[in-house]
Amino acid sequence: MSLWQLTWRRFLRNRLAIVSGIILILFYLMIIFADFLAPYDYMKTQEDYIFMPPQHIHFIDKEGHFHLRPFVYGIETTLDTENLVWVHKPDYSKIYPIHFFVHGKPYKLFKLFPTDRHLFGVEKPGTIFLFGTDRVGRDMLSRIIFGGRVSLTVGLVGVTLTIIFGSSLGTASGYFGGMTDTIIQRTIELLMSFPTIPLWAALAAALPPDWSTVKRFFAISIILSLVGWTGLARQVRAKVLSYREMDYTAAARAAGASDRRIIFVHMLPNAMSHIIVVATLSIPGMILAETALSFLGLGIQPPAVSWGALLEDAQTVSVVVQHPWLMIPGAFVIIVVLCFNFVGDGLRDAADPFAI
């Protein structure tokens, strides 16, 4: 059996990592099918439903009748003239059954197939806000589903850049040594000695405000991986330093292999398991960093959403006390970060050749 097969088998034995992996796959499916899963347009404001708490799904109505099809109650909105806030109360006389594959806002699935089907919804004038609404009445569930697009992919893009920079510079540093090594290592030390949050903040603040969302997204990925690659480069360098002394490297050279061949055919595949583990473990860091930047208002700018940008609304205590459902995106961040950590741990244990 090959090294990869052995690693895969050991990984499959780790239940926690497998479960986490499946959850992550579901999350990524969620952002792929965001248009289909989200019941509302995440940007559509609904003035009648400002700061509405999450609606509950029911099977049994007030009279004790069981409904096979789950339903939500209608909403009665009144103005509390003392506190000057809108108060939303369920109207138990109105029952809106939840339908699946309903017609809603038209969109193009995968930007290709025009359709207007959504996974679930209720007939108008009923509403279904499972995670409540924000200060202008936008559906939180839809916003979380779409916000995942940025939050979950920023880590992947950032890590791809980290792998490219980290492994190539780390390999060059370890393999060639001497002056190359000194320059790269001192650069890494310089980058590592920057306080990261102010550095990111400064770089993000320097981005032109008129950039499109996509441009901004990639710029933020680059900013995050600017510091991220240093750790990986150091680890790859250490690995390459030890591989360089291995007899098989000498054997490859004695067989007439060029430097390029030794690096790409012998060094990198040997270091690959290590690189994958480090990369997996650094994805959550990137997700958290993006969340932090967006929370500070320096990351993704409205109207685009990310989980960090959603949490920006929950910055003050009064908001959190009165509208606790605005914290829900934080729970998603926690779940995703934990899952990545578990998968990373599982991969690390599986890639360890000395594990039993």
């Binding site: 059996m1 090959s2 090294l3 040594g177 001497g178 291995m246 007899d247 098989y248 000498a250 054997a251 490859a252 050279r253 004695a254 067989a255 007439g256 292999a257 060029s258 430097d259 061949r261 055919v265 012998h266 595949p269 040997n270």
Partner: protein
């Protein structure tokens, strides 16, 4: 030049510029290897045997550098059909990482390493690694390379080569891995094979098998072998000619029979006395060589062996470095005792 010489090393000097100081790992080594023969290099650890081999392949690791001397390789090509054409190439003059040197490495001069457990890349099958060596030097497609790899595995006595070709190194024993290393080294039909202690890491029965295999293949393919070892038993079994090295210098160069029956240099004599003999019935203690190998940073002046030598001549050995002295045809020794102008042979013979 002589048709049957394949490699001529002339006053080779390899120095290591370490932070602690200069190490003269190889300091003025000269020898010639004859085509189709097995030349043994014997000596204690740290005497420069492996560095000599690395210098021939131009793979001396930094901070080591070839600082002087020539390595003349008599390159033979017979592609014209008009007999063999011999070209001479000075390997020290070629760029170490250049294309020509890479073609020679593995293609014409190949090497078997000491440690079969670490000299195969763990992430590839042994077939991949043999095929890598083949495709680096020959224009063949993948299936031809595989055919050839299977053929090589069969040649080195690998059982069921069609199946073992897809095994990973960790699935094979040490002896089997060394067979794979030999298969890789021989896959491009090199004219010179450098074997750097090929059996040191193996157990004794495996060692015998590997030596037998190498000897058999050498006779079958006519490859010249440069066999580096510290085991005099291996020398006796395998070699035609032998050079004895001590602290980066060749101290004696002769054929294998003379080495064992008429060694001249006091170091060679001491080496032979320090190995156990099965025929001796007397309860006799082994005679180790007095003293220790000097610190490589402070090699004694004059003959490097004088602090440990039983025949040390004060005022001469520690001042002047002896030159090569031909004591009989094809037998050179670097020792003041055999200097014809000194007439001190009697002393040596008395003491033996």
């Amino acid at each position: 030049m002589d048709q049957d010489v394949i490699l001529q090393v002339d006053d080779l000097r390899v120095h290591f510029f370490t932070q602690e100081g200069l190490v003269r790992a190889v300091d003025g080594v000269s020898f010639t290897a004859k085509r189709g023969q097995v030349l043994g290099i014997v000596g204690e650890s740290g005497c420069g045997k492996s560095v000599t081999a690395q210098a021939i392949l131009r793979i001396v690791p930094p901070p080591g550098e070839i600082v002087g001397g020539k390595i003349i390789y008599y390159r033979q090509s017979s592609n014209n059909g008009a007999g063999n054409v011999t070209q001479t190439v000075d390997l020290t003059a070629l760029p170490a990482r250049g294309r020509e040197m890479r073609e020679i490495r593995g293609g014409e001069i190949s090497m078997v390493f000491q440690e079969p457990m670490t000299s195969l890349d763990p992430v590839y099958t042994i077939g991949d690694q043999i095929m890598e060596a083949i495709t680096l030097h020959q224009k063949v497609n993948k299936s031809e390379a595989r055919e050839r790899a299977i053929e090589m595995l069969r040649l080195v006595g690998m059982p069921r080569p069609e199946e073992t070709i897809d095994n990973y190194p960790h699935q094979l024993s040490g002896g089997m891995r060394q067979r794979v290393m030999i298969a890789i080294a021989l896959s491009c039909s090199p004219s010179l094979l450098i074997a750097d202690e090929p059996t040191t890491a193996l157990d004794v029965t495996t060692e015998a098998q590997i030596l037998e295999l190498m000897r058999g293949l050498q006779q079958e393919l006519g490859t010249t072998i440069l066999l580096i070892t510290h085991n005099l038993g291996v020398i006796a079994e395998m070699c035609d000619d032998v050079i004895v090295m001590y602290l980066g210098k060749v101290v004696e160069h002769t054929d294998v029979d003379t080495l064992f029956f008429n060694p001249k240099h006091p170091y060679t004599q001491a080496l032979l006395q320090s190995i156990p003999r099965i025929e001796s019935t007397k309860k006799e203690r082994l005679k180790p060589i007095r003293g220790i190998v000097p610190d490589p940073y402070a090699i004694p002046s004059g003959c490097p062996f004088w602090p440990r030598c039983d025949h040390y001549i004060p005022g001469l050995c520690d001042r002047e470095e002896p030159d090569y002295i031909t004591v009989e045809p094809d037998h050179e020794v670097r020792c003041h005792l055999y200097d014809p102008e000194r007439k001190t042979n009697a002393q040596v013979n008395e003491s033996r």
